[in-house]
């Protein structure tokens, strides 16, 4: 598994922090696949977080997983690491 470097430090005064509890694939508005990640926030409420194909693949990469099922348990900071991995998007 890759060892990602944190881009945001955990806040010691607020525990627990948002964590991934599940993920699934959805069809995007533009016909591409998107990743929908379920995140449990610090107060226990679960919400969906959507991302496009490249960011979803980057998230899996920084988490070192090979299936979306393995994303469960990953901390929210992985999202910030993932967007740093997505190739620059300018033409």
């Amino acid at each position: 598994m890759a060892t990602p470097s944190l881009v945001a430090q955990p806040a010691p005064t607020r525990m627990p922090e948002p964590v991934i509890v599940g993920a699934s694939i959805a069809g995007g508005h533009d016909g591409a696949a998107e990743l929908i990640v379920q995140v449990r926030f610090e107060n226990g409420v679960v919400r969906d977080v959507a991302m496009e194909n490249d960011t979803g693949l980057a998230l899996m990469s920084v988490c070192g997983v090979h299936s979306i099922e393995e994303l469960a348990g990953q901390p929210w900071q992985r999202f910030l690491e993932a967007v740093g991995q997505v190739p620059a998007k300018s033409s």
Partner: protein, 89 residues
């Protein structure tokens, strides 16, 4: 006609003011927290500003910025399915 105060509770958010940054919003909206904690909280609550954005984290004027985590029980009126709050907390 239903009165405005009868609206159900929704997750609290702000619209950025001209000149705003996430740091300024953190200081203004979460004064009880240190700036570092407030920034970390805002980041976690506003992943959309990072995930569907080029460059990630760039605040635009039309953004919705949540200033609290998701709230339970908002808009739970059933319509063709059930709401899913706190399902595996």
């Amino acid at each position: 006609m239903t009165q405005p105060e009868q609206l159900s509770r929704q997750r609290r958010f702000v619209a950025p003011k001209p000149g705003d940054t996430l740091e300024l919003i953190a200081e203004r909206e979460l004064p009880e927290m240190s700036v570092a904690d407030a920034m970390a909280a805002l980041q976690g609550w506003n992943l959309h500003i990072f995930l569907m954005r080029n460059p990630p984290g760039m605040l635009t004027g039309s953004d919705v910025v949540f200033v609290e985590p998701p709230v339970e029980g908002d808009g739970n009126t059933v319509f063709g399915g059930s709401a899913r709050a706190n399902s595996d907390a």
